[in-house]
């Protein structure tokens, strides 16, 4: 399951500072492990069933400190049955059964919990949550559990578990782990994992190594890497140089290594900014593209555009509610179905608005501003009255949660990646409709010369309605995407309306490509400013830049030149 794999990969470096606490408990763990590693590991049966049951019951102790001690003791034993218990505890699946005070691993199915005996590992009855009391953990315990599991898993037959353990050890970076790690290196066959292990070893050897050679070789290994962890390792080493009295040549070497690592990291930072800019751009694009039609093409200053997005988001919510019972949670289908649904719902609303209000206002763009503003107020209140003012929850399907994480610290979250892709598809779709379909042709005809279009037999009213419907429908689709990153509330639309107008105007009214370019450039500029100026100032700068830009290009990025404009 991808998530689990990443849940490990995703872990941010150095989660565990080398506090006294950690040192001690790892010390204990290693001491014992050292023994049992020599005596063939993973096969030891140090615990009798009775002992295991008793010690497990101590996991329910009040004091976290005691719990930590117990966890270490269990881990140190190396009993293969321990790992599943600790894992369950980490996942919050470890309970005490009220009936017989036994510790059981309980997994929830619907309303029922199935109990698995920690000793035998077999199902031993089931019950409701009432008869179980959960063994509580906090962040400190999570840390302890994870380290314990790491040391246990270092020799696990499963490669994934092993590599996860290595990452964890690299995070902890406790010299006490070095001997254990070395032993693991001896046994490791997998090349890539071996490399990681050696890297981990290097991170520790830097400080722990006895000889200058060891340190220098460690630095060589590290210098070739490009991760924030390594930067921290080196910078800490350099910082503590004279305190620890390291050899000058070593320190110098470390300094060089540090610089090279930092240099490479900064380029990755830039890459990250660009990506985030594109991602923001894609969101802006989705929000604006519907407006590019209702406002850009039809000239309706559509203040209700934001509400169309909102309607799309609420449609997504309703689809999920409707399908929630049928589909497993995290299924992609509800979202997939939401897209056409949102298009139809928002589109229909759009058509109604066009027929009932806007069609009376063509050629009076400023009136459309007032009317649609009224419409937006009504729609907001309507949603509020129907669904209530509070947020609605739209769960993210599995394929949209999580992220691809590069060791260089660059994180590409799936939902952002999908939204970028989605925005491109949507735009391509619109372009296709405008260019290749009869409707697109009629639409352009009507917007360019209504009377002429009418006289050649195009039903202009019909085209108007559909055009507005199209724009609204696309806004609805945007709502589906935005429901994944933003909150689904009656105010959703207001969040995006201003930005949408900025994008369309910046790109040049009536020009789809202008909107695309506008969205991405605004996004990227914003993201480059943000780290320097902070989010608020960045936004202000972007707005000022927009104002000044319009001075240079009064008709936006892509403006038609010549007489056409004046006509």
């Amino acid at each position: 399951m991808r998530n689990d794999m990443f849940s490990v990969l995703r872990r941010s470096p150095f989660s565990l500072a080398k506090t006294r606490d950690v040192a001690l408990r790892l010390g204990a763990v290693i001491a014992c492990l050292a023994l049992l590693v020599i005596a063939t590991p993973n096969s030891a049966q140090a615990f009798s069933d009775e002992e295991l049951r008793n010690i497990a019951e101590q996991l329910n102790d009040k004091s976290a400190t005691k719990k930590v001690a117990v966890i270490e003791e269990m881990a140190a034993d190396g009993d293969p049955r321990v790992a599943p218990i600790l894992k369950a505890m980490l996942d919050g699946d470890l309970y005490v059964r009220d009936s017989d005070e036994h510790v059981v691993i309980a997994t929830k199915k619907g309303k029922v919990f199935t109990h698995i005996d920690i000793v035998s590992g077999e199902e031993v009855g089931e019950s409701s949550s009432k008869e179980l009391s959960k063994i509580k953990i906090n962040n400190r315990l999570r840390g302890a559990l994870r380290d314990a599991l790491a040391t246990l898993n270092l020799f696990s037959p499963d490669l994934n578990i092993r590599s996860a353990a290595v990452e964890q050890i690299m995070d902890a970076r406790d010299p006490a782990m070095l001997p254990l790690l070395l032993r693991a290196i001896d046994r490791e066959e997998d090349e890539t994992l071996l490399a990681r292990m050696e890297l981990a070893q290097a991170t520790m050897a830097l400080a722990a190594g006895e000889t200058t050679e060891e340190r220098l070789s460690a630095i060589d290994v590290l210098a070739s890497e490009t991760t924030p962890q390594i930067r921290a390792v080196l910078s800490q080493f350099v910082a503590s140089a004279e305190a620890e009295g390291y050899e000058p040549e070593v320190v110098a070497a470390a300094q060089d290594a540090l610089e090279s690592v930092e240099g490479r990291l900064s380029t990755w930072q830039t890459i990250g900014d660009v990506y985030r800019g594109i991602s923001l751009g894609s969101v802006l694009l989705l929000a604006a593209v519907g407006l590019a039609i209702t406002f850009g093409v039809m000239g309706v200053i559509n203040m209700a555009h934001g509400e169309m997005i909102m309607i799309g988001a609420y449609t997504t919510f309703m689809v999920q509610q409707a399908l929630g019972s049928i589909l497993p949670s995290g299924s992609a289908w509800s979202l997939v179905i939401s897209v056409p649904a949102a298009f139809l719902v928002a589109g229909a609303v759009g058509v109604v608005i066009e027929r009932s209000v806007i069609r009376f206002l063509y050629g009076r763009p400023l009136e459309t501003l007032l009317a649609t503003w009224g419409v937006s107020l009504v729609l907001q209140q309507a949603i509020r009255t129907i669904f209530g003012a509070t947020n609605q929850q739209v769960t993210a399907p599995d394929f949209m949660s999580g992220a691809i994480e590069f060791s260089t610290g660059l994180v590409l979250t799936y939902n952002r990646l999908w939204i970028i892709l989605f925005s491109i598809i949507v735009v391509a779709g619109i372009a296709a409709v405008l260019r290749y379909t009869a409707f697109g042709l009629q639409m352009r005809a009507v917007t360019q010369n209504r009377r002429m279009a009418g006289s050649v037999g195009i039903r202009t009213g019909y085209v108007d309605a559909l055009t507005f419907g199209l724009g609204s429908g696309i806004a609805g689709i945007a709502g589906v995407a935005l429901s994944q990153i933003s909150n689904v509330s009656p105010n959703l639309g207001q969040t995006y309306i201003i930005d949408s107008f900025m994008v369309v105007v910046f790109g040049g009214v009536g020009n789809l490509w202008g909107t695309v370019l506008g969205a991405f450039s605004l996004g990227i500029v914003n993201k480059f400013l943000e780290p320097m100026a902070g989010a608020v100032l960045a936004k202000i700068f972007v707005l000022i830049a927009l104002i000044l830009f319009i001075q240079k290009r009064p008709k936006g990025l892509f403006a038609l030149k010549g007489r056409a404009v004046e006509a």
């Binding site: 000239g299 009377r451 105007v505 104002i547």
Partner: protein
């Protein structure tokens, strides 16, 4: 006797004022209100049927400020076709100027008892007053700033925009960008304007306690007077040849250019004047509501102002005043009477007005359907025909 003779022979002011029926009525009412309302509030006993309660006085005062704001928008939108979606910015700037004065007046009566620094500076431990706060302890300076700062902003912004011939929705959107940028800027606590909380907890104005009925009445009168003056000025402008040029620009900008007028200068002039009026409105508004904060920069507010004008009737000046009162009264009433559904009514009102009263409420009153308004509507119809629904 053809009417252009009277139009140009009479001493101007009286001449066109007499011709302006709506204006006369408005000014008459303003004068009456300026006398009666405070009188009945201060002199008549609470029990009297004609007693105007204090909350009503300050409420009306607030409406008057909104009316003045709407007037300033109508001057540029109704007569010169400049649709500003950022006029709230000028209003708020004027308000902040006044707010800064009132803030300085608190003196050491602030919670921290600092004689110079406003409270919000003290608890974010600022050491001394930022330079731009100096001088605001003087009333005249604050008043000058309340007009100068919005005026200057409008002048610079307008100079850039009109010189490079930014028109139509492009202009509207960048005005919106302007007010939005200011909104964000004033939200920042580092700006030294009290961040989101803005300026509040005012004590007194020129030594008169803001809490006292007398001061309220005074502010109410002041609002009436300034609305009257600004109306007269605005009417003066629109009646002059300059006003005719403005209308000409609204209807056929390029023709005006080819006739040899520097369109950008005319726009710049009226835009600046309008901004100054908005600034005055803001300065009058703050002491009556007791708070000024970045919320006044919100683009939504600026859009609402335009809606007031449209509801009342664009291009008539008095229509704008009427519109401001109608919409804001409706808001006051419905938010109390039906708090859960009032947006339906307000939204519905806007839709209805645009659909059924294209000339606004005032346009529905035959007596006020002036020739100007007439043609404004026909222009729309023609433009629709010509442009075939393209903006």
């Amino acid at each position: 006797m053809t009417d252009y003779r009277q139009k140009y022979q009479m001493t101007p002011v009286i001449g066109w004022l007499l011709k302006d029926r709506g204006g006369m009525i408005l000014l008459g009412i303003l004068i009456a209100a300026a006398i009666l309302v405070p009188a009945s509030n201060l002199l008549l006993p609470e029990s009297s049927a004609f007693h105007v309660p204090t909350w009503m006085v300050s409420l009306l005062g607030k409406y008057l400020c909104y009316a003045l704001l709407a007037l300033s928008v109508d001057l540029i939108w109704g007569f010169c076709g400049i649709l500003s979606l950022g006029h709230g910015a000028f209003f708020a700037l004027g308000g902040y100027a006044m707010g800064m004065y009132l803030m300085r007046q608190i003196g050491d009566r602030g919670v921290y008892g600092d004689p110079i620094l406003p409270d919000f500076m003290v608890f974010l431990n600022w050491q001394e007053l930022p330079w731009y706060w100096h001088g605001f302890d003087m009333f005249w300076f604050a008043i000058v700033m309340a007009m100068f700062v919005p005026g200057l902003l409008a002048f610079v912004f307008g100079f850039l925009a009109f010189r490079s011939r930014v028109t139509g929705v492009y202009l509207s959107i960048i005005t919106q960008a302007m007010t939005y940028a200011l909104l964000l800027a004033f939200f920042r606590n580092d700006m030294g304007f009290g961040g989101n909380n803005g300026l509040t907890d005012f004590k007194d104005l020129l030594g008169y306690s803001l809490q006292s009925d007398g001061t309220r009445a005074g502010l109410f009168v002041a609002s009436c007077v300034f609305l009257g003056i600004c109306y007269t000025v605005a009417r003066g402008i629109t009646q002059s040849r300059l006003g005719k040029v403005l209308i000409a620009i609204r209807d056929a900008e390029s023709r005006v250019r080819f006739t040899g007028y520097r369109v950008e200068y005319y726009k710049l002039f009226v835009f600046t004047v309008s901004a100054v009026m908005a600034g005055i409105a803001g300065a009058l508004y703050v002491p009556q509501v007791g708070i000024i904060n970045p919320g006044e920069f919100a683009p939504a507010l600026s859009i609402e102002i335009v809606i007031w004008v449209a509801v009342g009737g664009r291009g008539t000046l008095y229509g704008a005043v009427l519109g401001a009162f109608i919409v804001n009264y409706a808001k006051t009433f419905f938010t109390g009477a039906m708090p859960d559904f009032w947006l339906f009514f307000l939204g519905g009102l806007f839709i209805a007005v645009t659909l059924f009263l294209p000339k606004g409420v005032i346009g529905a009153v035959p007596a006020f359907g002036s020739a100007d308004r007439q043609s404004l509507f026909t222009t729309w119809r023609k433009r629709r025909a010509n442009e075939g629904g393209k903006a």
